[in-house]
C-alpha cells in the first residue's frame, strides 16, 4: 500500500494508548559494501553524513514530545562507521526524543575494524549498554569470501576493548559460506564460545536481490551450499551453543541467561516500536510503516517537510493475531494459548486448529494443551508452516455449478 499522507483510521481496533517502548535508528553508512549485503547502505559516501544527521533530527522532532523508551537500537549499515562527533550528535538527538529508561537497553552495531578504546568511551558516555559486533567468522577464508575488512586478531582485540568498557557484547556468525566444511564451522563455534559473548546470533548465508552475490550466483560464479549441508551446520550450531550454556530463544538467537536482546523481542512479541532513518520500519497504533529506503530520497523528503513513510498498512485484528502467532512461534519457548487469547482476542484453535494438529502429527510442533512450540525438526523447516498459519484454513474443493448441463458443443 502506498499513500502520500498517512491517514488516521479512527475505526481501527489497534491497541491504542500503548505508546512504543522501543525505537530503532537506521545508520546507512559503511566503509564499503560486502558482497552478501542488500541492506539500505551508502558505502564511501561520508559527505552525506551531515545532511543525514539533519534529516534524522528533523524526523525525530516531527514525532512530537519526548517519550521514554526501554530500548534503543542503532542498526545499519555500520553505526560504528560514524565519526565521533556525528555519533555524539545522533545519540543526543535520539535520547532527546526518546530518553532511555533506567536500566534500559541501548544497542549499537559495530564493525570490529572500527572498535577502538576511544570509540568505546564515546558510546559508553552517551549511555550505550550493548554492542552487536559483526564478527561473521574467525576463519580467514570465510572472511575473505564474505569480503569483510577485518581479521581474527582484530576481532579478539575489539572484544577485549568492549569487555573492558563494561559493555554487553553480542556477536554475529554466518554459516554456509561456499566451500564451508563442518570442521571450519566447528572452529568458528569453538572460538565464539571461547570469546564468551553475552549473546550470539547466527545466520545461514543468503543470496538477496540487490547484493553482489545475487548476480554472482546467477552467473554461476558462486554456488550456494546444499540444503542438506546447511541444515547440518545449523544443527551443529544449536548443539554446540546450547551445550555451552547459551539459551536458544529465537530461531537465530542465543543468549546467556538474562542477556536476551529485549529490543528484538519487541518485534517478535508484536509490540509497537518507532523507526527512524532511511528504510526504518515502525509499528505504531496498529499501523506498520516503512520509510523510503533510498538514503537520498529519504533525506530529500524530510528536507521538504514530507513524511518519509512510503509504505504502510493497517492490520485487522485477525491478521495481527496470525502474525503474532507466527512470530511468537519463532521464539522457542512457544506461544501460550491463554496469554495469546487474552492479548489478541483470538484463540489459536479457531485461527489454525487443524494446521496445528497436522503439524503436531508430522512432529513439527509440540502441543501440551497449554503451550504450542516448535520441535527441533519444526524449527528447521518452519517457513513451510507459516503460510498455513497466516491464511484461513482452505475449505474442501467444491463441485462446480452444473446448472446448464450442456455436455458438449451447442
Amino acid at each position: 500500500m502506498r499513500s502520500k499522507a498517512v491517514p488516521f483510521d479512527a475505526t481501527s481496533s489497534a491497541p491504542r494508548g500503548a505508546m512504543p517502548r522501543a525505537a530503532y535508528v537506521h545508520v546507512p553508512f559503511c566503509r564499503r559494501r560486502c558482497g552478501y549485503c542488500a541492506f539500505t547502505v551508502l558505502a564511501a559516501h561520508d559527505a552525506w553524513i551531515p545532511r543525514y544527521l539533519a534529516a534524522v533530527e528533523r524526523e525525530l522532532a516531527d514525532l512530537g514530545a519526548p517519550r521514554e523508551v526501554d530500548t534503543l537500537y542503532f542498526g545499519g549499515g555500520t553505526p560504528s562507521h560514524l565519526p565521533r562527533d556525528a555519533m555524539r550528535r545522533l545519540a543526543e538527538a535520539t535520547t532527546d526524543r526518546f530518553p532511555l529508561a533506567e536500566n534500559g537497553e541501548w544497542t549499537v552495531e559495530a564493525n570490529p575494524a572500527d572498535v577502538t578504546r576511544d570509540w568505546c568511551r564515546t558510546v559508553r558516555e552517551r549511555g550505550v549498554t550493548r554492542i552487536s559486533l559483526g564478527v561473521q567468522s574467525f576463519s580467514p577464508r570465510k572472511l575473505r569470501v564474505l569480503e569483510r575488512d577485518h581479521d581474527a586478531r582484530r576481532i579478539d582485540e575489539s572484544l577485549r576493548l568492549l569487555f573492558d568498557a563494561g559493555l554487553d557484547v553480542a556477536i554475529d556468525l554466518i554459516f554456509g559460506v561456499p566451500g564451508e566444511s563442518v570442521e571450519e564451522w566447528d572452529g568458528d563455534l569453538r572460538r565464539a564460545v571461547a570469546a564468551s559473548p553475552h549473546h550470539l546470533s547466527t545466520y545461514g548465508l543468503t543470496f538477496e536481490r540487490g547484493a553482489r552475490f545475487w548476480g554472482r550466483r546467477a552467473r554461476g560464479d558462486i554456488t550456494p551450499e546444499s540444503e542438506d549441508s546447511e541444515a547440518e551446520l545449523f544443527e551443529r550450531a544449536i548443539d554446540v551453543l546450547t551445550s555451552a550454556g547459551f539459551e536458544h530463544y529465537e530461531v537465530s538467537n542465543f543468549a546467556r541467561p538474562g542477556h536476551r536482546c529485549i529490543h528484538n523481542e519487541t518485534y517478535w512479541l508484536g509490540r509497537s516500536y518507532h523507526g527512524v532513518g532511511p528504510g526504518a520500519a515502525a509499528y505504531v497504533d496498529g499501523r506498520r510503516m516503512m520509510n523510503h529506503q533510498g538514503v537520498l530520497a529519504y533525506i530529500r523528503r524530510v528536507e521538504r517537510g514530507e513524511s518519509p513513510v512510503v509504505d504502510w498498512e493497517m492490520l485487522d485484528a485477525e491478521s495481527r493475531a496470525r502474525e503474532r502467532l507466527v512470530f511468537g512461534l519463532r521464539r522457542l519457548e512457544g506461544v501460550a494459548r491463554g496469554a495469546f487469547q487474552t492479548r489478541t482476542g483470538h484463540s489459536i484453535d479457531d485461527l489454525a486448529g487443524s494446521a496445528v494438529e497436522r503439524f503436531v502429527s508430522l512432529g513439527l510442533l509440540e502441543d501440551d494443551g497449554s503451550i504450542v512450540r516448535l520441535t527441533r525438526r519444526g524449527l528447521m523447516v518452519s517457513d513451510a508452516m507459516w503460510p498455513d498459519l497466516l491464511r484461513p484454513e482452505v475449505a474442501a474443493p467444491r463441485e462446480p455449478a452444473r446448472s446448464n448441463r450442456a455436455e458438449n458443443a451447442p
Binding site: 545461514g204 540444503e227 542438506d228 541444515a231 545449523f234 519463532r330 523447516v381
Partner: protein, 602 residues
C-alpha cells in the same frame, strides 16, 4: 454475374509445404487478375486469422473467385485454399474434390518436402491435373536443377512441365495464369441435372450464422430455394448466395462447376458437415460419395488450474467448438485435478492450435494432461471399447485384444541422416516400408509406426537428428493389435489418475523410470518424504523418493522484515493453491506433462 459457362471456369488449389510461398502466390494471383488492387493488398490475404499468420499454416479452407480476360475470353478462376497439414487430411480431400487442377508449389531452395509428397499424392488420387511450380527462383541460393530432379524422382514430374516463378516479385506469374487456363480442365457436370453441391468448408458468422462453402457439381442453386443437407438430414431456405472476391459478394445463382457460399440462417455449425451434399428439399439427388465423420485421434484432459474457473472454461471451449466442429469436449472428473474436460482433436497440430486459441482468447490458467491416442479394446466377452483416456482401460484379465492406431510416415531427410532416422523409427517400433533417393543429397524414408510414438516425441527427435532439415508427414492407415499396458503413477501410495498412460509393455520399464525421475525433479521437497512410483496393476516397476525438506527457515526477522516475510509467506499459500494436491502432496501443474518427458536433453 454467374452462372458462367462451364468451359470458361477453372477450379484449382495450391498445394505446398509450409513456408514454400503458397500465400504469397495467392496474393499475386489476386493482384494480377485485378481481384484485389495493390492498395487493398494486405500481405497474405488469405490467412486472415492471427494464429495462421503466426504459425504460417492455413487452417481453414477458403475459396476466392477471380475473373480474368485471356485472349479475348473472360474466365472465372476459383482458387480453393486447402489446409496444408495432415491433421486436416479429410478437409483437404474434400477441397480437392472441388478442383480440377492443383498447383504443386515447391521452394527452389528447400526442395521437395514430406508434405509436398503427401499432398501431391492426394491430388493425384483425386485425378487432379497437376501444374508443378518452382517458387522463389529469385533466391540467391535457388537450386533449380536439383529441385527439378527431386520432383522427377519423388513424383515423376516432367521437368518440361514445371513453371518457374517468384511469387514475391511476380516473375513468371502471368505464365502461370496462362498455364491454369490452358492446362486445368474445365468442370464436367450437368447444368440441367438435379442439384448436387459438395460442402467443403464452413465458418460461423456472429450475425448471419453458418456460412457454408460449396462447389456445385450438377444443377444450380438460387436464393429462395429450399435445400436439404443429405447427410445432416436438415432442410433450409437459401437466403443469400455469393462468392468471395475476396470479400463476400452476393450473386443471383451458382451454376454447375461454380464455387461460392450459402447463407441459410443456420444457427450452429454442428448442422453443417464437411463432405455433405446439398440438394433440393423436394426431390433430393443421390449424395456425393466419400463422406466421413471426422475421427478424433488425439485426446487430452484440460482442467482449470483454479476449480472456480470450470464454467468459464466450458464457455471458452463451447465458443471454440462452434467454429471448429471437429474439436469435441466432454466433462470429466479426475481425483487429482478435479473437474475438467476430455478434449478430442484430429491430431497433434490440431490440439496445439486449439490450446493456443484458448491461451490467446481466454485468460485462463490451465492444467493439461499428456495427450493420448484413441485405442480400441476387444474384451473377453466380445465387446469393442474405444478408449479415449487411460483410466478407461479395463483390467488386463478382461482384455482379449488391445489395438492402437498405425500411421504411415514419410520422412524426407538429408542422405547423411538416413541411418539415424531409421534407427529412430526402429526404436519406436516402426516397420520399414521403403527408402527412396530423391536426389544425391536427399532421400525419403517410409515407415509404419504407432501413432502414439509419433505424438510422443518422433517429430522433436527427427528435428534434432537432422539438425532441423528433416520433414515428416503421416496418414492413418488403420488399427493393429499390440502388447499394450496401462502404467499408473502413485504418489505416496495414492494413484494419480491424471498421470496414468498407455505404452508398449516392452517400453514400460524405461518409460516408468523416466516419468518417476521427472516427477521427482518437479515435486518440491515437502515436510515429509514423498515416494513416487510407477506400477502396472499392483506391480511397482520404478520408484523415486523426494526426501523430506531439511532446512527452510528464515534467519533474520527484525523490524522491517516482519511485514515483508508475512506477505511473502501469505503469498506462498496462494501459489500452493494453484498446485494440485494428491493426499498431502502438492504437484505443480507442469508435472502433469511429465509423461512426455523422454529423459533426454533436447
Amino acid at each position: 454475374m454467374p452462372d458462367f459457362d462451364c468451359s470458361r471456369i477453372r477450379n484449382f488449389c495450391i498445394i505446398a509445404h509450409i513456408d514454400h510461398g503458397k500465400s504469397t502466390l495467392a496474393d499475386r494471383l489476386l493482384e494480377l487478375t485485378g481481384t484485389v488492387t495493390r492498395r487493398e493488398m494486405r500481405d497474405q490475404l488469405l490467412d486472415d486469422m492471427e494464429l495462421e499468420r503466426e504459425r504460417g499454416i492455413t487452417i481453414k479452407a477458403r475459396a476466392v473467385a477471380m475473373y480474368y480476360e485471356h485472349e479475348g475470353t473472360r474466365y472465372e478462376l476459383n482458387l480453393i485454399d486447402t489446409p496444408g497439414h495432415v491433421d486436416f487430411q479429410y478437409e483437404v480431400s474434400r477441397s480437392l474434390l472441388c478442383c480440377e487442377g492443383a498447383l504443386l508449389l515447391v521452394d527452389a531452395f528447400q526442395g521437395v518436402e514430406a508434405q509436398t509428397v503427401a499432398n501431391a499424392y492426394l491430388a493425384m488420387e483425386h485425378e487432379l491435373h497437376i501444374i508443378p511450380v518452382i517458387n522463389k527462383i529469385d533466391l540467391k541460393h535457388a537450386r533449380i536443377e536439383e529441385v527439378l530432379e527431386e520432383m522427377h524422382q519423388s513424383l515423376g514430374i516432367d521437368p518440361d512441365d514445371v513453371v518457374k516463378v517468384s511469387a514475391k516479385t511476380g516473375l513468371g506469374v502471368p505464365d502461370l495464369l496462362r498455364a491454369v487456363i490452358d492446362r486445368v480442365p474445365s468442370p464436367k457436370g450437368d447444368p440441367t441435372g438435379p442439384l448436387q453441391a459438395m460442402v467443403f468448408d464452413s465458418h460461423y458468422d456472429d450475425y448471419r450464422g453458418a456460412i457454408t462453402y460449396v462447389r456445385v457439381m450438377n444443377g444450380r442453386i438460387e436464393p429462395g430455394q429450399k435445400i436439404r443437407f443429405l447427410k445432416g438430414g436438415t432442410n433450409h431456405e437459401v437466403l443469400e448466395l455469393g462468392q468471395f472476391r475476396p470479400r463476400p459478394v452476393r450473386c443471383d445463382s451458382l451454376g454447375t462447376g461454380e464455387v461460392g457460399y450459402l447463407v441459410c440462417n443456420i444457427k450452429s455449425l454442428d448442422l453443417v458437415h464437411i463432405g455433405d451434399t446439398v440438394s433440393t428439399a423436394h426431390h433430393p439427388a443421390q449424395p456425393l460419395p466419400g463422406y466421413r465423420v471426422p475421427k478424433r485421434m488425439v485426446y487430452c484432459g484440460l482442467y482449470p488450474a483454479d476449480g472456480q474457473d470450470f464454467d468459464e472454461l466450458r464457455e471458452e471451449l463451447t465458443k471454440l467448438s462452434i467454429n471448429d466442429p471437429s474439436f469435441e469436449f466432454v466433462p470429466e472428473t479426475s481425483e487429482a485435478l478435479g473437474f475438467g474436460f476430455r478434449c478430442g482433436f484430429l491430431g497433434l497440430l490440431h490440439m496445439e492450435i486449439i490450446q493456443q486459441r484458448l491461451e490467446q482468447e481466454a485468460d485462463l490458467d490451465l492444467v493439461q494432461t499428456a495427450p493420448n491416442v484413441t485405442y480400441e479394446i476387444t474384451t473377453k466377452n466380445g465387446e469393442v471399447l474405444e478408449i479415449h483416456r487411460p483410466q478407461e482401460v479395463p483390467d488386463t484379465g478382461s482384455i482379449d485384444e488391445f489395438r492402437q492406431p498405425i500411421v504411415r510416415v514419410n520422412i524426407i531427410v538429408p542422405t547423411e541422416s538416413i541411418g539415424p532416422v531409421m534407427t529412430l523409427c526402429q526404436d519406436r517400433r516402426g516397420e520399414p516400408k521403403g527408402n527412396e533417393y530423391l536426389s544425391p543429397s536427399r532421400a525419403m524414408v517410409t515407415y509404419e509406426l504407432p501413432l502414439a510414438e509419433v505424438i510422443y516425441d518422433l517429430h522433436d527427435k527427427l528435428k534434432s537428428i537432422t539438425r532441423g532439415y528433416g520433414t515428416m508427414d503421416y496418414e492413418l492407415i488403420g488399427y493393429a493389435p499390440a502388447d499394450l499396458v496401462r502404467l499408473d503413477i502413485l504418489v505416496n501410495g495414492k494413484r494419480v489418475d491424471a498421470l496414468s498412460f498407455i505404452c508398449h509393455r516392452g517400453d514400460s520399464d524405461r518409460r516408468g523410470r523416466q516419468v518417476v525421475k521427472k516427477l521427482k525433479s518437479e515435486i518440491d521437497r515437502h515436510m515429509f518424504e514423498v515416494a513416487v512410483q510407477a506400477a502396472i496393476g499392483s506391480r511397482v516397476i520404478a520408484r523415486e523418493t523426494v526426501p523430506a525438506m531439511r532446512k527452510n527457515v528464515t534467519a533474520k526477522c527484525y523490524g522491517g522484515d516482519i511485514t515483508r516475510k508475512r506477505k511473502l509467506w501469505a503469498k506462498q499459500r496462494e501459489g500452493k493453491k494453484r498446485m494440485k494436491s494428491v493426499g498431502n502432496v502438492d504437484i505443480p501443474q507442469k508435472a502433469f506433462l511429465a509423461v512426455l518427458d523422454t529423459g533426454e536433453k533436447k
